[in-house]
């Protein structure tokens, strides 16, 4: 067997939207006019529908308006599928003005040995290797989750805030509330 090294990462740059969400970026008609990962719910799957509003804030307090966020999550049954009518995976650009990235998805169930969570992957200009973090939910026994438990007194940076119809979550790249990022 060859002994190769992983290709080194490079930033996604300021125009990641062209490559990953071309319709959002204004390339009308590209790839059938449908951005991959835009819709996570494609039928009428069982489960609780939630709207998850994410924002990524830089060290100056400004939202990233040129980022791409992907999420990967268990379905309501705690498995990674396949699940009828649900993709487990979503991809959204951050809005060019507000920085909001909104995922219409299902509330995850508890995967084996873990509390309900979503895995989050963030690529953007200025980020040399995509950032990996997780989102957990309040009112669960998160402390028993081995990954959550690793984060100690920074654990609150991973917990989403309930709002009407779903949750919001702010990811801080720097500062007093810097979000926990992982090397997985």
């Amino acid at each position: 067997m060859a002994d190769l090294k992983e290709s080194p990462s490079q930033t996604a740059g300021p125009y990641v939207h062209i490559g990953c969400v071309p319709t959002f970026a204004g390339l009308e008609g590209m790839f059938g006019g449908q951005d991959l990962g835009e819709h996570m719910i494609m039928g009428k799957p069982e489960g609780v529908r939630i709207s998850l509003n994410l924002k990524v804030i830089d060290g100056a307090g400004d939202p990233l308006t040129d980022a791409m966020i992907e999420i990967w999550q268990p379905g309501p049954d705690g498995t990674f599928g396949p699940t009828n009518g649900f993709s487990h995976w979503g991809r959204q650009p951050t809005d060019s003005y507000t920085g909001d990235a909104v995922f219409e998805t299902l509330l995850p169930g508890a995967a084996s040995g873990q509390a309900p969570h979503l895995f989050v992957w963030i690529a953007a200009r200025g980020i040399n290797m995509a950032l990996m973090t997780r989102i957990y939910f309040p009112d669960h026994d998160n402390a028993a989750d081995p990954v959550f438990a690793l984060t100690g007194d920074r654990a609150h940076t991973l917990v989403a805030t309930p709002v009407d119809g779903g949750f919001t979550h702010v990811i801080h790249l720097q500062g007093d509330n810097e979000t926990v990022f992982f090397d997985v």
């Binding site: 067997m1 060859a2 002994d3 190769l4 090294k5 992983e6 290709s7 080194p8 990462s9 490079q10 930033t11 996604a12 740059g13 300021p14 125009y15 990641v16 939207h17 062209i18 490559g19 990953c20 970026a25 204004g26 390339l27 590209m30 790839f31 990962g37 830089d58 060290g59 400004d62 990233l64 040129d66 990967w72 999550q73 268990p74 990674f80 995976w89 995967a111 040995g113 873990q114 969570h117 895995f119 992957w121 690529a123 200009r125 200025g126 980020i127 040399n128 290797m129 990996m132 081995p146 990954v147 984060t151 790249l173 720097q174 810097e178 926990v180 990022f181 992982f182 090397d183 997985v184």
Partner: protein, 240 residues
């Protein structure tokens, strides 16, 4: 728990903060990444079928061009293999690319570079690796371009790659450069990678064996994802 995906060698990759790359200053986390071995969450990921692809998705020369027209610039094939660190082919994985046009201009509302847009060039493409890990695009060679980084900074000609693996732990974004480009040594984004040996793996080579006479030149670029343990590999073989 059996470790199914090899640990990432963080020293091989650019650090979060590379001060000469100005955008990293406010966007780099200051605390160390917390390590854990991949769980089911990171060992799994989305899968994509060849049937989702349109006929021209991997042909940037034609996929935004009007009928009978084509993008302007040096015609090239970019091809190679998607492998893991053990040299095994990684099959049936989505590869997405995006790039500037031959003049160094992106089709994006925020790119105001002097070079003109090419009405027949969109600048993105996608394909899915074959059973032997092979992939291929047709495109035009992108131009170098200046960018705001505080000085006289020019990006080497490059193509962005977004690549999926078996699990999210293998997911990656990188950039491909071209053999012989003097801007590679001058670029703070490239030079954020700690070693020349690592940088060299992102430099595509002219491939005359695949070059089609009187038609199109070829560049070879292999992409390597993190290694997968034997157990996962065996499971996949059973699933085929």
């Amino acid at each position: 728990m059996t470790k199914l995906i090899a640990s990432r060698d963080l020293d091989w990759h650019p650090p979060p903060l590379a001060p000469a790359y100005r955008s990293s200053q406010l966007r780099s986390p200051t605390q160390a990444r917390l390590h854990y071995d991949p769980t089911t969450t990171e060992m799994t990921g989305p899968s994509f079928g060849h049937d989702m692809l349109g006929d021209l998705d991997g042909d940037l020369i034609l996929n935004y061009a009007q009928a009978g027209q084509a993008a302007i610039g040096p015609r090239i094939i970019v091809h190679g293999k998607l492998l893991d660190e053990d040299g095994r082919p990684v099959s049936n994985k989505l590869i997405e690319v995006w790039q500037a046009n031959a003049g160094g201009r992106y089709r994006h509302k925020k790119d105001g570079y002097l070079a003109p847009l090419d009405p027949n060039f969109g600048g993105c493409g996608r394909c899915i690796s074959g059973s032997d890990g092979s992939y291929s695009f047709r495109t035009v060679q992108p131009g170098p371009y200046p960018w705001p980084n505080g000085g006289n900074d020019w990006r080497p000609a490059h193509i962005h790659f977004s690549v999926f693996g078996d699990g999210f732990a293998q997911r990656m974004i990188t950039q491909m450069y071209f053999e012989g480009d003097p801007h590679i040594a001058l670029c703070p984004i490239v030079q954020a990678i700690p070693s020349d040996k690592a940088i060299d793996t992102l430099v595509a080579r002219l491939d005359m064996d695949t070059t089609i006479p009187m038609d199109i030149r070829a560049y070879r670029f292999d992409i390597v994802l993190r290694g997968r343990g034997q157990t996962l590999f065996e499971n996949q073989m059973e699933g085929l």
